[in-house]
Amino acid sequence: MKRSTRKLIIPGTIVALVFALVVLAPVLPLQDVRGMDIPNRFSGPSAAHWLGQDGFGRDVMSRLIWGGRASLFIAVGSALLAAIAGTMLGLLGGYFRGVVELFTVRAVEIILCLPPLLLALLVVAILGAGTWPLILALTILYTPNYTRVVYAATQQVRSLDFVTAQQAMGTHPMKILLRTILPNVLPPLLVQMSLVVASAMVIESGLSFLGLGVVPPTPSWGLMIREARGAMELAPLLLVWPSLALAGTILTFNLLCDRLQSALDPRAITAGGALWLRPRGPKKPLTPLPAPQDAPLLQITDLSIAARDLELVRRVTLSVRPGETMALVGESGSGKTLTGLAMTGLLPDTLRLTGGSALYTRRDGTRIDLATLDEEAMRQLRGDEISMVFQDAAASLNPVLRIGDQVAEAITAHTTLSGEALSARVVALLRQVGIPDPERRLRAYPHELSGGQRQRAMIAVAIAGNPRLLIADEPTTALDPTIQAQILALFAQLRRDTPGMGMIFVTHDLAVVAEIADRVTVMYAGEIVEEGPVAEVFTRPRHPYTAALIASVPESGATRLTAIPGAVPLPHAMPTGCRFAPRCAHATERCRERAPQAASPAPNRITRCLRWEEVT
């Protein structure tokens, strides 16, 4: 069971218990809720009356249970009715739009302008107080909530491909609404429903408290509070019970819907928030070592990354020299991005380094192990020594800050530059990355730039601190071909302008690798399978996976593409031996049994295949 599901148990059980209690009220051995015993009014708890007796000598416990029945019946009843009405209107309005939208969604929104109280007052004044008028009033009151939620969800769902697929299939619109859209708008509806139940209980109690709700002698919690409030000094317990019951039930409901929301919402944050915000133990002393003469900029050795018990990256070893561009290539799930992120200490909170080292040579010539640094030490390196360009520039730039400010921030994080000098530097950077008219553009917000220019701005942010190691994570993937070519050209330009800078270029596109990199590291399922100079690897791959990848690119002119059968194994179902073995045309028993060691078919080259000599 998922953690988020597990957290549903306690509030779920309490809510179920409360429901069971009120549903079973008629068959429980309770005393008559109307049975008065006026001589013993305000008696405290006793064996016969566990919670005591009220101002009429009636049994408080049975009134509490029956009161809950009335309160919950009204709350759940109106929540359900409003859900039905609101869902219908929201579905119709969201799916058909146009005039239908006007007469459903927009019409319902008028209710929002009416003070809720007035609505209840009017309904009760017209129909008289009582359970059903109250349900009607609350139903009208809450219908817009559902309509809005369902409308929004419907609009979202209706543009999804599987709905279009149904339309393309010739399915009747009503059928699409009920069979395809309705089930998919249910999760937000469910959350909304639990919210409404809680809120309706508050309003019901308020209206009963004002004498506009449930009609005595039928008890409801609001009514009981109203009655007890007068005698607060005489019998304070009478106020305590219904208040506790009411607040407790609503509280549990709120908890339940909170947790329901996180269980149903795939984006739910179940991990412990942002760990980087928390001070973790005492500051570890940095242990810089002197670097050997020709030490690479970055030397990663046997680095492993895991999420709890799942190993996502296993024993990665690679190095980047100053001025060298290392392409990290692989399919989704190969661990290439994680390896890149680990070098900046920006791994998601759920992941951690579980082994290995990453020796980085700093400007001052000393080496430190990135794998051992704490957040603060890592922060000092970030932007200054090591920078990163992210894939989705639109999401990676803060939408509410101007481009110029975001670039300036990257400068001021490590220098004391300010004022004119700072603006000049920002303009220079923007010009360097090819943003036209930088003096004007630095005042633009990210959304005002085109995709290509956003990526340029992102690169400007990354190179603002003159980093020595630039990690580019799929920087061109989301771009159109002509724009991708521009950005690749920009990277090529950067390499020429800053000869000492090393670069790790993470991509899934072999063709891009061919265009940009000096060396290539091919990853598969969390492991490095092959490494070597680009030209050599592409002309003669020494690993069956690399070979298959190259053959599957529809560039060869072959009538039929080479397809690799199957799919990348999932982290929790990794094959024991060679991870590529299940999809490999050359795999033997031996491959499946034992993970292959790195082999060096040539100087500067590595392959992790048992049979590289036979099959490549």
Binding site: M169, R179, A511, R560
Partner: protein, 331 residues
């Protein structure tokens, strides 16, 4: 590659235009924003037409219009001789048996809450392709056809990988035994090794079922591999169309040439950086006058700004919309 002799076209679009009026300010006049402008094309049985262009060029809108999912503002679509615009809702739904669609996003194209068997069966049931009793058997057959085990029918989409989902989506599209399929970027979201599986599947189906197919993509390599004819679109208009070999072999329009140059290759040419097209795609809200491409075109001259260049023939069944069009020409 085999040369198809063009049969009578199954689907024929003439002078399609799709306008999304956009208001400037609130009470301001609506401005015409043409997502698709004056596009004519046809697809015959057994033919695969590739539509190539960058994002926002209108290629997806074109696909939706051909499917009848969106109505054109101008022009019309004839399917097997019948004008889609004249059909009633019920007739249109009936006709939809013969035209199906495969989408880009393998995660969004399947309903996460229903079993894939049920989703494939939808078309079978809606159009009564097979008797009710044989639906399950037919679903199993379709699954096998796309290379999945028949037992997969009872599972839900989240249990499948992206490539498998895309194959399920193809199975669903095939369920109604269509004559025409619009494949809207069906492999763009897939990993390279998986992409090849789906491309191969589509090729097999076209061959086996004699399907007419419109293949929308921004990946020139895939399009070149799969398609018989190519349509290149820039800002809603066709700039070049013709047989795949000609268009890619010796592109006539400077944009096609730039596109080819910009596409990274495993075997990069030394001069790759020279062909980089400057600037961004112009906004469709405010397109340049005359030839929309002139703002980025290395060959642009004054005349380009004057009028939208018409599609003119540069070869048999090969047209380009450029006053300086030269097949395979280098600037």
């Amino acid at each position: 590659m085999t040369h198809h002799t063009p049969n009578a076209p199954l689907i024929e679009a003439s002078h399609l235009g799709r306008n999304f009026p956009q208001r400037q300010g609130l009470l301001g006049r609506a401005r015409d924003v043409w997502a698709v402008n004056d596009v004519s094309l046809s697809v015959a049985k057994g033919e695969t037409v590739g539509v190539v262009g960058e994002s926002g060029c209108g290629k997806s809108t074109l696909g939706r219009i051909l499917m009848g999912l969106d109505a054109p503002s101008r022009g019309g679509v004839r399917f097997d001789g019948r004008d889609l615009a004249t059909l009633s809702g019920a007739e249109r739904r009936k006709l939809s048996r013969r035209m199906q669609m495969v989408f880009q996003d393998p995660f969004g194209s399947l309903d996460p809450r229903r079993t894939i068997g049920a989703q494939i069966a939808d078309g079978l049931i809606t159009h009564a392709i097979v008797p009710r009793a044989e639906v399950n058997a037919e679903v199993a057959r379709l699954l096998e056809q796309v290379g999945l085990p028949a037992g997969a029918a009872a599972r839900r989409p989240h249990e499948f990988s992206g490539g498998q989902r895309q194959r399920i989506a193809v199975a669903r599209a095939l369920s109604t035994r269509p004559d025409f399929i619009v494949a809207d970027e069906p492999v763009s979201a897939l990993d390279v090794s998986i992409q090849a599986q789906v491309v191969n599947l589509l090729m097999d189906l076209r061959r086996d079922l004699d399907l007419a197919m419109l293949f929308i993509s921004h990946d020139l390599h895939v399009v070149r591999h799969l398609c018989t004819r190519i349509v290149v679109i820039y800002l809603g208009r066709i700039v070049e169309e013709g047989p795949a070999e000609q268009v890619f072999g010796s592109p006539a329009h400077p944009y096609t040439r730039a596109l080819l140059a910009a596409t990274p290759s495993l075997h990069p040419r030394a001069d790759s950086a020279d062909g980089v097209l400057p600037g961004d795609l112009p906004s469709p809200v405010n397109p340049p006058s005359g030839c929309a491409f002139r703002t980025r075109c290395p060959l642009a001259e004054e005349a380009c700004a004057r009028a939208v260049p018409p599609l003119t023939s540069v070869g048999t069944g090969w047209n380009a919309a450029c006053i300086k069009a030269t097949p395979g020409g280098k600037p």
